[in-house]
């Protein structure tokens, strides 16, 4: 117990600031992947065959590529070989590369979640929208997507939960985040061993459970009554 308390003395601040890094990654990647995923979903339900093919190809490629590989690509190829600099600040550059990687990967899942929401909207809604003279984009924006999002809250919540936990993969992209700090603690403070794992696990549980509860509540509350 004494040893565990001294772990907090030694690493408490660092752990929390690293975990804050995870939450920041989550926020920006969630925002970016929601935008990208919505555009992809629109492509997949659009009447233009080449858009549909692109959307399908994107989802199949990135959903089936391990996230670690996308992250390693960001550092070893984008940064290492092509010397890509999104930001002149050295550490911020890796942070932004990590957000890019997380967004590209999770956009594929967001796209599929929204598409499943679109499937809950009866075909008659689309036909009625066309009947009053709306073309594809206005029909999607004003009629289909608002209902689709309300039907997709639960799957989107699952994607968000996966994203929160997947931010730990950013360690492969040289971002200061919690799993890197965990490695360091295991190396330096091997005397408290397994308690380190529990501490990190609890941090994630504290964040993930409210997200789960909230999305379940919202998915019931906002469900379209048919």
């Amino acid at each position: 117990m004494q040893g565990y308390l001294s772990l907090w003395d030694q690493y408490g601040e660092k752990m929390l600031s690293a975990f804050w890094g995870n939450l920041q990654l989550t926020f920006w990647a969630a925002l970016a992947s929601l935008v990208l995923g919505t555009i992809l979903a629109l492509m997949r339900i659009s009447p233009v065959p080449s858009f549909r093919a692109f959307g399908t190809a994107y989802v199949n490629i990135f959903r089936n590529t391990p996230l670690t590989i996308i992250m390693a690509f960001g550092v070893l190829v984008l940064f290492g070989v092509f010397q890509v600099q999104f930001n002149s600040d050295f550490d911020l550059n890796f942070f932004q590369i990590a957000i890019l990687g997380l967004s590209i990967y999770h956009a594929a899942f967001v796209c599929e979640a929204i598409r499943s929401g679109v499937n809950t909207v009866p075909l008659g809604q689309a036909e009625a929208a066309r009947a009053i003279g709306l073309s594809f984009l206005p029909a999607a924006w004003l009629v289909i997507l608002p209902q689709a999002f309300r039907g997709a809250i639960a799957p989107l919540g699952n994607v968000l939960i996966a994203l929160i936990k997947n931010t730990t993969v950013a360690v492969a992209g040289s971002v200061t985040e919690i799993s890197g700090v965990m490695k360091e603690m295991l190396e330096i403070r091997s005397d408290v061993g397994i308690l380190i794992f529990f501490t990190i696990a609890v941090l994630f549980v504290i964040v993930v459970i409210p997200v789960g509860v909230l999305t379940t509540y919202l998915s019931k509350k906002l469900a379209v009554a048919r």
């Binding site: 550092v75 070893l76 940064f79 290492g80 492969a172 490695k183 295991l186 190396e187 091997s190 061993g193």
Partner: protein
Amino acid sequence: MRKSRISAVAAMAAAAALALTGCGGSGDEAGAGDTVKIGIKFDQPGLGFKDGDKFTGFDVDVAKYVANELGFAEDKIEWVSAPSANRETLLETNQVDMILATYSITDSRKERVAFAGPYFVAGQDLLVRTDDSSITGPDTLKGKKLCSVTGSTSAKKVSDTYPGVALVEQGGYADCLGLLETGGIDAVTTDDIILAGLAATEANKGKFKVVGNTFTEELYGVGLNKENTTCEDVNTAITKMIDSGEWEKSLKANTEGTGYTPNAKLNPPTPAPCA
């Protein structure tokens, strides 16, 4: 009918469980007597490296010598992979008898395991491209980009002591070497002998050099269970290896062609008395 089928399945499961435990038990007993399980790194060229079904490196050579002195010939050694994060657990649960895996002796580790040795004194150093003469030590790192392994002591040392240095953290040293070769970074940092081992591999020969200006002291020890009875014997074996010249021969062979020489003031070390 239904009931009898279930009980038959249960009986079979029980019998299988009995058979399995019986088998496992006798296997363990036979194993403990005449072989020794030694934990090494499988992925650290020059120190502990699994090459097909052969094991090479300085740690492996020391382990073989020590095992031989303890009465285990080379074919009685069972090599076990001991990644950094698992070393204490492997020793505590007796999954290995000893560990020689670039294992620095530290006070927090001594809480859980015992150490014999040290058998080598390493120090944190820098690895740079062969044509780079601008980096000669930690004081010349200002504005340079450095790479080390996530969560390693070396990474922590750099970020604590030299705050102005840009540090890239990667999962393994191979990734760091890739970045160093393509020019994404300027130097890789960790213990000098690890760097020398990496630079001495076939694929990297001639591309990198060890700067040779160490700024820490890492005492590599032989990790043992706290309730060991072998610590004194391991120390005797290490001393014998150093005196016989085998120690130096192995060190030279494993770091050939990198211009690396260990810190002569501290090497070869004298094993510390066992607690």
